[in-house]
Amino acid sequence: MPLKEIDIAEGLKINSLMEASQQPIPDPDKWLDEEIRRNVLITTVDYVLDWARSRSLFPLMFGLACCAFEMIGAAASRFDIARFGMDIFRWSPRQADLMIVAGTLTWKMAPAVKLVYEQMPEPKWVIAMGQCAISGGPFRESYSVVPGINRIIPVDVYVPGCPPRPEGLLHGIRKIHEKIIRESIKKA
């Protein structure tokens, strides 16, 4: 076929498609209930807000000691933290709302942790992971270790263990979800 005829055939095709596509195709909504088809949904603001918040926590990438490896294990494919809507560990505190303090906190590190916590936007939650973060653990009497991170920042959930297994951390995250679901914008 000569080149000119190819061009003509293409033009005809485009014109006919354009002519046939003057109206939008209706969305397939036959499977929906009558009320939803009319875009009517009845719920509370609290429910929707808490549902959205609890299922899209953004944890902060933050590991202080050996507990961090269990946290990494929880994030990897076997335990798969993504099941709870936590696909990405955020590098920036400004994009995170969950701080998992995994490991021993020393007094020298404490100002950095406090600063990072303060940089996180509200609302924010904290998990103290492992004995060291909870109470200082075996280093409680030490000259250099903070005896419990609740001296520095407020803690929402304590996950015990030395270190806790990934299941333990996931359980702690579920507890955070329960806590978030009970929150109300009236109090905030």
Partner: protein
């Protein structure tokens, strides 16, 4: 495998060059007086047959009666090693000469020993705390801390 030199034999060589510098010597280590430490270290580094050009470790031990500063030296050329020690009996101001000018590796290690054990390394270019913060009271690895 690095050959560990017999401390007594190394001590003999040192004593020949610097009489009175050896405080004690056994198979494992050479103990020198802290006054002659720098001279001996320089001798160990710059003598062709010994040639200890690499300081692998520097630490301090508290024996309550005295502090012992320990130097682990290796020669990369001869592939042999020796342990050099110096004792300080003054608990309030234990001092040994700094060896930073011989081995740069000693810089942080001496600062750590100062930080945690309170050994003062005379002639160190920047002797301040390494691990703990400015203003910390005491030296926590000492036996009488707390």
């Amino acid at each position: 495998m690095t050959k560990a030199l017999n401390g007594e034999e190394v001590a003999k060589k040192i004593a020949k060059k610097f009489p009175g510098s050896i405080a004690a010597a056994d198979k494992a280590a050479v103990v020198v007086t802290s006054k002659s430490l720098y001279q001996v270290a320089e001798f160990l580094k710059n003598t062709r047959t010994l040639d200890f050009d690499y300081l692998t470790n520097l630490t301090a031990v508290d024996y309550t009666d005295y502090f012992e500063v320990v130097y682990h030296l290796i020669s990369l050329r001869h592939n042999h090693s020796v342990v050099l020690k110096a004792r300080c009996y003054d608990r309030d101001k234990p001092a040994v000469p700094s060896v930073v000018s011989l081995w740069r590796a000693a810089d942080f290690q001496e600062r750590e020993a100062y930080d945690l054990m309170g050994i003062i390394f005379e002639g160190h270019p920047n002797l301040k705390r390494l691990l703990l913060w400015e203003g910390f009271v005491g030296h926590p690895l000492r036996r009488d801390y707390l």
